[in-house]
């Protein structure tokens, strides 16, 4: 089973502006029969979209329900198709809410990143910026090349008409021993941008704690991650919202 923790914390610029954190994240450890599954999701609401935090929340919630229903299936493949199916569910959930409340889907604009892993392998997928780092036993790597729009400060959102065209998927044949999914607020700290490699010391400080945590201390993890994400040392480096989901496989 994986030891997990996740948290989303408002950035200093948003705190000053409107006090709303537009990042969301979730981790789920679940089972399909005897097989254990890890699911991790992060959505980063667009600063320019008025309902962005609702969009991010809907995205993560829809993804979790997708995984829960997936566990009822006898068989499914870890493929691009599965990621497309999941992202379509995320989109329907947002489009439904938009039409129900008289908004446009664009008002809910958010990025979306996901990871599914079991002994069958690991599927990573994302629309927009943010990052996914995986260690399947040999070394830590960035699962998907960072993406941006035509301009440096432009990204893609799961709410766009052609979101599926911007969905990038990667399949890895091994189970994720250690994994992290995070929004772009963390990207600058966690990735060596020149070489597109994970900055290992950053992740090690979290993975080491998760790998050795005692059961009675688990309830402290979330608070500890929130404190870290809201610490001066993080806020000095980024004023953006930041979401970070982490998992370490323990045998």
């Amino acid at each position: 089973m994986w030891e997990t923790v996740s948290a989303a914390v408002i950035g200093t610029s948003h705190r000053d502006l409107n006090g709303v954190c537009q990042d969301r994240c979730a981790v789920l450890c679940t089972q399909q029969g005897d097989r254990q599954w890890l699911a991790m999701f992060v959505a980063d609401g667009a600063g320019s979209a008025p309902m962005a935090e609702v969009g991010a929340e809907l995205a993560v919630t829809a993804a979790l329900s997708f995984v829960e229903s997936l566990m009822g299936r006898v068989e499914f493949g870890l493929s691009d198709n599965l990621a497309v199916e999941l992202v379509k569910d995320v989109r329907s959930s947002i489009y439904l809410e938009a039409s129900r409340s008289g908004h446009s889907a664009r008002d809910y604009a958010c990025t979306f990143l996901g990871l599914l892993s079991s002994e069958l392998g690991t599927l990573a997928f994302q629309v927009g910026d943010g990052g996914i780092v995986i260690d399947s036993g040999d070394s830590m790597f960035v699962a998907i090349k960072p993406m941006s729009g035509i301009y440096a400060n432009m990204t893609h959102f799961v709410t766009e008409e052609d979101a599926i065209d911007h969905l990038v998927c990667e399949f890895f044949p091994n189970i994720a021993q250690r994994a992290a999914v995070f929004s772009d607020g963390i990207q600058r700290l966690a990735i060596n941008m020149d070489s597109n490699t994970p900055h290992e010391p950053f992740f090690s400080s979290f993975f080491d704690v998760l790998a050795t945590i005692k059961p009675e201390k688990r309830n402290q993890l979330q608070g500890a991650l929130e404190s870290f994400l809201d610490s001066d040392q993080v806020n000095e480096r980024t004023d953006d919202d930041k979401a970070l989901a982490l998992a370490v496989l323990r045998v």
Partner: protein, 224 residues
């Protein structure tokens, strides 16, 4: 909550290396603070260091990438262990003592090697370090070993060593110490020197790792 319970709290803590994935650009200053530097020269050197700090502070990339270390001689003292430019405050140096330049170079280069080992251990890439020696005299100790180390380091591209002679410096000895041509400071133009140094550090810190940066001419403050 008792102190021991508090100590047991789960914390996610990151050191500076874990928090900053930027490649580092170390700059080691070996500064002569012997008695002969007393008065105007040491004042101007201090003003130069202040300027150095301010110029680095004005460049956000340099702030994240440049690290400064300072060893003074005589006597030999590590005034500033390698420190991120963001946390660097210029020391106020006082002139006294003799000129144990040879031993100071060796100590500085050891400090540099130790820092490089830390970069490696923490997975932080780094640029070729710069070592900058400034003196107004001649070594009062044995300096041949230091010269060998400098030659070795330059040959192995382990660092770039620059020697600057202030009025009164034994340029002939600097010539033997340094593989690169030593520079002769005009008067007490320490501020111009440090302006040039910070501009050079900025160029290096903006360059791709492993590429040679073309240096601007030091003509504003020194002659070769």
């Amino acid at each position: 909550m008792s102190e021991s319970e508090d100590f047991d709290q789960i914390r996610f803590a990151c050191n500076d290396f874990a928090m900053n994935a930027e490649p580092r650009c170390p700059c080691l200053l070996l500064l002569d603070v012997s008695g002969s530097m007393n008065g105007k020269p040491i004042d101007e050197l201090n003003a130069g260091l202040d300027q150095f700090r301010d110029e680095l502070a004005g460049d956000s990339l340099a702030m994240r990438r440049v690290e400064v270390g300072i060893v003074t001689f005589g006597p030999i003292e590590t005034v500033t262990p390698f420190t991120a430019a963001a946390a660097f405050s210029a020391p106020h140096l006082q002139a006294r003592g003799d000129t144990p330049m040879g031993a100071a170079i060796l100590q500085g280069l050891e400090m540099l090697e130790a820092r490089k080992a830390e970069y490696k251990a923490n997975g932080v890439p780094f640029y070729r370090p710069w070592v900058f020696l400034i003196t107004d005299g001649a070594p009062t100790d044995e300096w041949k070993r230091a010269a060998d180390k400098i030659r070795e380091g330059e040959d192995g591209k382990k660092f770039a060593f620059f020697a600057v002679g202030v009025e009164g410096a034994r340029m002939d000895i600097l010539q033997e110490l340094s593989v690169r041509e030593p520079l002769k400071l005009y008067g007490l133009r320490f501020r111009e020197l440090f302006q040039w140094l910070s501009a050079s550090m900025k160029s290096v810190s903006q360059s791709a790792l492993g590429t040679e940066v073309k240096l601007t001419s030091p003509a504003g403050w020194a002659s070769v």
